[in-house]
C-alpha cells in the first residue's frame, strides 16, 4: 500500500473511544471546539464496524476487558490501538487491585502508548501524530500481529477472563 491509499489511511482516522476507565473528560476537548481533532481527519465513529482506531483509556477491569476484545475484533482491518494513560501500560495506581488487568498488550496488540495520569489533550495529539508517522512507515502492524500470534493472545485472554466459551463469539 502506497501513494494515495496510504495518504488516505493517514488522513482519515475514525476513532472508537472506549472510555469506561477514566480520561473521557480529557478526550472531550480533543474532539470539540477547543482542540478540534477533525481538522486532521480524526472523527468519532458511531460504531466499531466503521472505525480504524480503538482508544482504550484508563484501567481495565476484567469486565471491560471482555468488551474491549469484542470491540477490537469487530473492527475491520487495518486497525490500530492507542492505549491512553498509565493504567494500560502497567496497571498504574491500580497495579495491585484484585479486579483489574494490568497490561493491555497481553490481550490485544497496542500500537501507540500515551503515558500520563491522565495525559493532557496535547499529548493525545502527539500520540496520534506518532500513530500517523507509524502508518506512514508501515510500522503500525498490530492487526497483523494479532492474526499471527492469535494463539498467544487467546491464551492470555482465557487466563484473565476464564472460560472463553461463555463470552467469545467466534475465533478471529
Amino acid at each position: 500500500m502506497s501513494g494515495i491509499g496510504k495518504t488516505s489511511r493517514i488522513k482519515s482516522l475514525w476513532v472508537t473511544y472506549y472510555v469506561t476507565g477514566c480520561g473521557g473528560i480529557e478526550l472531550l476537548p480533543v474532539i470539540t471546539s477547543r482542540f478540534d481533532a477533525e481538522r486532521f481527519g480524526i472523527i468519532t465513529s458511531a460504531t466499531p464496524r466503521q472505525s480504524d482506531v480503538l482508544v482504550v483509556s484508563g484501567f481495565l477491569t476484567t469486565k471491560t476487558l471482555r468488551r474491549i476484545i469484542r470491540t477490537y475484533e469487530q473492527m475491520p482491518d487495518p486497525k490500530y490501538v492507542v492505549a491512553l494513560g498509565a493504567c494500560t501500560i502497567n496497571g498504574g495506581i491500580y497495579w495491585d487491585s484484585y479486579s483489574t488487568a494490568d497490561k493491555l498488550e497481553l490481550y490485544i496488540p497496542v500500537d501507540v502508548y500515551i503515558a500520563g495520569c491522565m495525559p493532557r489533550p496535547e499529548s493525545i495529539f502527539m500520540g496520534f501524530a506518532h500513530l500517523m508517522a507509524m502508518i506512514k512507515g508501515d510500522k503500525a502492524d498490530g492487526w497483523k500481529r494479532y492474526h499471527e500470534n492469535y494463539k498467544w493472545y487467546k491464551k492470555n485472554q482465557d487466563k484473565a477472563l476464564g472460560n472463553s466459551k461463555k463470552w467469545r463469539v467466534r475465533d478471529v
Partner: protein, 294 residues
C-alpha cells in the same frame, strides 16, 4: 456522449466535495477550524482500502450495490446543463421512480443486518420518505399541468422562455423545498442516521467497502435531489458550471437552515409533513389549476 456517460460519476465526485464543504461549514459554525473540503475523498478511498469483517447474508452485501446502481441510473436521467444520456417524453416520472430504488436497496441491506439499531433506522428512513415524497410529488404536478410535458429538458426550455417556475408557482416551490430539505437529510429531519440516538442507523453494521459505497450513494443523492429541484423550479442550467453554482447555492442555504435547528422525533416529523408541506402543496396545486384555466 462521453461526457453524458461520465456525468453520473462526476456528479458523485462533486457530491463528495459538497459534503466536505458541509463539514467545513458545520465546523465554522461551532468555532472550529474543520477538516479540508476534500476530506470526504480521503474517507472514501480509505474505506475502499479496508477489509470487511461482518457477514450477514447475501442481501446485506447486495443492498449497498443496489443503492449505488439506483443512484447512478437516476443520475443518467438528470439534465446537467444540457441533454442527459436518456431523455424522452415521461422521463420526469422515470427519474422520480428510480430515485426511490436507492433507499430501497439500503432498506433491504440494513434489514438483514441483524442489528436492532439498523432496523430502527431503516424504519425511520422509510417513514420519513412517506412524509416528504407526497408533498414533493404534489408540488411538481402544477408544472406538468401547466407545461403539458413530462420531459425535463422541455420543462427547462419552457422556463427559459416563460420565466422560472419558482416565480410562476411560488407556493409549490415552497412545499417542494421543505421536502428537499428532508431528502438531503438536514438537521430537523436527520432521524434515520441520528448518530447519538441509534448509532448511525442503517449504516450501523456497515464498515469498509460497503460504507464507502453508501457514502458515494449519499454524495450522488445530494446532487440528484438538488439537481431535480434546480431543473424543475430554478430554470435548469445553460452549462455545467451554472448547474453546480445553482445546486450549491440551494444546498448551502438549506445547510445553514439545518445547522441551527434541533431534531424532530420521527412521529412529529411525519405529522409536520402531512400538515404543513402537504397543505402548502395542495394549496399550490389548487392555485395553479385555478390560474391555469384560461
Amino acid at each position: 456522449m462521453t461526457w453524458a456517460i461520465l456525468m453520473p460519476f462526476i456528479l458523485m465526485f462533486a457530491g463528495l466535495l459538497y459534503m466536505g464543504f458541509a463539514r467545513k461549514i458545520h465546523a465554522r459554525i461551532q468555532k472550529r477550524y474543520g477538516p479540508p473540503f476534500y476530506q470526504n475523498i480521503y474517507d472514501v478511498i480509505k474505506l475502499f482500502s479496508k477489509r470487511e469483517a461482518a457477514f450477514h447474508g447475501g442481501m446485506f452485501h447486495f443492498g449497498p450495490v443496489l443503492s449505488l446502481t439506483g443512484i447512478i441510473m437516476a443520475l443518467m436521467f438528470l439534465p446537467v446543463g444540457g441533454k442527459p444520456l436518456f431523455s424522452f417524453q415521461g422521463d420526469l416520472f422515470v427519474l422520480l421512480y428510480l430515485a426511490v430504488i436507492a433507499p430501497w436497496g439500503m432498506a433491504l441491506g440494513a434489514g438483514n443486518a441483524e442489528n436492532p439499531l439498523a432496523s430502527v433506522g431503516i424504519a425511520r428512513a422509510l417513514t420519513l420518505m412517506l412524509g416528504y415524497e407526497i408533498p414533493f410529488f404534489i408540488g411538481i404536478i402544477p408544472i406538468v399541468v401547466r407545461t403539458h410535458t413530462t420531459q425535463i429538458v422541455e420543462i427547462i426550455q419552457l422556463q427559459q422562455i416563460n420565466g422560472w417556475n419558482v416565480i410562476l408557482f411560488p407556493i409549490s416551490a415552497l412545499a417542494s423545498i421543505i421536502a428537499l430539505h428532508a431528502m438531503l437529510g438536514n438537521k430537523p429531519f436527520d432521524q434515520p442516521i441520528a448518530p447519538h440516538e441509534i448509532a448511525s442507523g442503517p449504516l450501523v453494521e456497515y464498515g469498509g467497502k460497503y460504507l464507502g459505497i453508501l457514502q458515494l450513494y449519499q454524495a450522488g443523492a445530494i446532487l440528484l435531489s438538488t439537481g431535480i429541484y434546480v431543473d424543475l423550479f430554478f430554470g435548469g442550467a445553460s452549462n455545467v458550471w451554472m448547474f453546480f453554482l445553482k445546486t450549491f447555492l440551494i444546498y448551502f442555504v438549506l445547510l445553514l437552515i439545518g445547522e441551527v435547528l434541533p431534531r424532530f422525533r420521527i412521529g412529529d416529523a411525519l405529522k409536520f409533513f402531512w400538515k404543513w408541506p402537504l397543505g402548502i402543496a395542495l394549496l399550490g396545486l389548487l392555485v395553479a389549476v385555478l390560474g391555469g384555466v384560461r
